[in-house]
C-alpha cells in the first residue's frame, strides 16, 4: 500500500498558525487541545568581529502534527489496541477501546496524541480521513496561506522535495519512520548545534 505523507516547508512557513486553527475548527477542538502545532524555534549567538561583538540571531517555524509513522511507537505501546493503523495507512484512535492512560503520548517522540479532557480519551490528527478518502487534502494543507504544507503519496513527495525527515528539534527519523518530508530552513543545522530552543512551549 502506498503511504500518504505531509510536506513541510520550514523555509517558507511564516508561523501564522492558520493550519493549527483550521485543524481545531474542522475537528471542533477546544482551544487548549491542539493536534497540529507550530513550533517557534529561536536561537543565535554573539560573535566577536574585530573590536565589536555582533549578534547573529535566527528563527524559523515548524508546523507539526502526527506523522502517521511507518513504525508507530504509539500503536506498539497502546495496551488496548485503540491506537491502530487505518486502511489508508494513517494512525487512528478507536475511542470505544481507549482508557485515556496517556501511554501513547509517552511513546510518541512527537508528542502527537493528546488527552481530550471532555471525553477522557486520547485524541490526535487523523490525517483528515474523511477528506483523504474523497481525494481531498487535509484541511491544514489547504488552509496554509504560504503554501508551506503539501500532501500526497510519500514517494511522490520524496521525489519532488527530497527525503529529509528530521531537523531540530525532531528526533532521528529512524526511530519511527515518519511519513513526511521537510524542506529545512537554512538555519536548522545551526539550531541543531545548540544555542537554540523552542520559544513557544507554553502554547504547545
Amino acid at each position: 500500500m502506498r503511504r500518504y505523507g505531509f510536506y513541510i516547508d520550514t523555509a517558507h512557513c511564516s508561523g501564522c498558525k492558520t493550519c493549527q486553527i483550521a485543524c481545531q475548527d474542522k475537528n471542533d477542538l477546544y482551544p487548549e487541545l491542539i493536534w497540529r502545532k507550530v513550533l517557534d524555534i529561536e536561537g543565535g549567538e554573539w560573535k566577536e568581529d574585530e573590536e565589536t561583538y555582533n549578534n547573529y540571531p535566527f528563527a524559523y517555524h515548524l508546523s507539526i502534527s502526527c506523522n502517521h509513522c511507518s513504525d508507530p511507537l504509539c500503536v506498539h505501546a497502546c495496551p488496548t489496541k485503540a491506537m491502530h493503523v487505518t486502511d489508508i495507512g494513517s494512525v487512528g484512535i478507536d475511542e470505544s477501546k481507549c482508557i485515556g492512560c496517556g501511554y501513547c503520548t509517552w511513546a510518541c517522540p512527537y508528542d502527537a496524541p493528546r488527552l481530550n479532557k471532555k471525553t477522557g480519551r486520547m485524541s490526535k490528527c487523523d490525517m483528515c480521513y474523511d477528506k483523504v478518502i474523497n481525494n481531498e487534502n487535509p484541511v491544514c494543507v489547504d488552509s496554509c496561506p504560504m503554501r508551506a504544507l503539501d500532501f500526497g503519496y510519500l514517494d511522490d513527495l520524496e521525489e519532488r522535495y527530497g527525503d529529509k525527515k528530521s531537523i531540530f528539534p525532531l528526533v532521528n527519523e529512524d526511530l519511527t519512520g515518519p511519513s513526511m518530508v521537510i524542506n529545512p530552513h537554512r538555519d536548522s543545522e545551526k539550531a541543531g548545534e545548540g544555542n537554540s530552543e523552542i520559544a513557544n512551549r507554553e502554547e504547545l
Binding site: H76, I99, Y103, P109
Partner: protein, 263 residues
C-alpha cells in the same frame, strides 16, 4: 510538560517494594531461629503488608486513567505492548498473593503454601522486568539509559529489606542486622545510581533537594552504624531506613517526572 503522573510513580514504588518484601519474607521464614509460631505470625504480617501495598498500588494506578470504564481492554495488546504485559503480570501477582494469604491464614493443608508462594515470587520478578520495559521508552532518552532499570532493581531490595527489618528488629535483633546491612548497601547503590542518572541526563539536577536528602541519609547511615558499634542501639536505625525509603521514593519521583519536555 510533565508526562508522568505521581500516582503512577507511587504505584511502581509500592509494587516493587512489596515484591521485595515477599521475596525476603520467604528467606526470613525459612532461616529464622525464632519460635515457629512467632515466625509464622511475623511472616503472615509481612504477607498482609505486601498484599495491602499491592492493592494500594493498583488503586493508585487506576486513578491515572481518564476513562477507567474501558479498563478491561488494557490487556488487549499483549503481542507488542509492555504495558499490557505489565498489567497482566500485576493481575497474576495480586491474585496469587491473595490465594497465598488465604492458604496461609486458613492453614489449608490441601494446597501446599509453597505453590502460591513460588508463583507469586516468579510473577513479581517478571512484573519488575515488564515495568522496566514499560517505562524505558526509546522516545524518552533520559529514561533510556542504564541507570533507570537499575533503580527498578534497587527499590525491591531497599524497600523489602527495610520492611523486614522493621518487622523483626525487636524480636530478632541479631537476625534483623542482616536485613539492615542489605538495606544499607541498597541505599548506597541507590545514591550512586541517582548520581549516575543526574550525570546521564542533565547535571543541573544536582542542586535538586533530592541530593540534599540523600546526603542526609548518608550521614544518618554512618551515624547509625557508629552508634551500633558503640552498642547504643536506639531508633537511629529506624530513622535512617525511613529516610532511605524517602530518598529512593524521591529519586523515583524525580526520574519519572523529569523528562525532556520534547515538543
Amino acid at each position: 510538560m510533565e508526562k508522568y503522573n505521581l500516582s503512577l510513580v507511587l504505584f511502581t514504588w509500592l509494587t516493587q517494594a512489596s515484591v521485595g518484601l515477599l521475596v525476603l519474607r520467604s528467606i526470613y521464614v525459612r532461616q529464622s531461629q525464632n519460635d515457629k509460631i512467632k515466625t509464622y505470625i511475623t511472616g503472615h504480617f509481612m504477607l498482609t503488608s505486601a498484599f495491602i501495598m499491592l492493592v494500594a498500588g493498583l488503586i493508585l494506578s487506576f486513578t491515572h486513567l481518564h476513562y477507567p470504564a474501558h479498563a478491561y481492554n488494557a490487556i488487549n495488546n499483549l503481542g507488542s505492548s509492555w504495558m499490557s504485559r505489565e498489567i497482566l503480570a500485576e493481575s497474576i501477582l495480586l491474585f496469587t498473593v491473595l490465594v497465598w494469604y488465604i492458604v496461609n491464614r486458613m492453614r489449608i493443608r490441601q494446597i501446599p503454601v509453597v505453590i502460591p508462594e513460588t508463583i507469586a515470587i516468579v510473577s513479581g520478578i517478571v512484573l519488575i522486568y515488564f515495568m522496566i520495559r514499560t517505562y524505558m521508552l526509546p522516545s524518552i532518552p533520559e529514561l533510556h539509559n542504564p541507570s533507570f532499570p537499575v533503580s527498578f532493581i534497587i527499590t525491591p531490595v531497599l524497600g523489602g529489606a527495610s520492611l523486614v527489618f522493621f518487622f523483626i528488629r525487636k524480636k530478632e535483633p541479631a537476625y534483623a542486622e542482616r536485613f539492615r546491612l542489605i538495606a544499607s548497601i541498597a541505599f548506597v547503590l541507590s545514591f550512586i545510581n541517582y548520581l549516575l542518572f543526574v550525570f546521564l541526563s542533565n547535571s543541573y539536577l544536582l542542586d535538586s533537594p533530592v541530593t540534599f536528602v540523600y546526603f542526609a541519609g548518608i550521614i544518618l547511615l554512618i551515624l547509625s552504624y557508629y552508634l551500633n558499634a558503640k552498642n547504643k542501639t536506639g531508633i537511629s536505625d529506624v530513622i535512617f531506613l525511613n529516610l532511605a525509603i524517602v530518598c529512593d521514593l524521591l529519586n523515583r519521583v524525580l526520574t519519572l517526572t523529569f523528562t525532556n519536555p520534547g515538543i
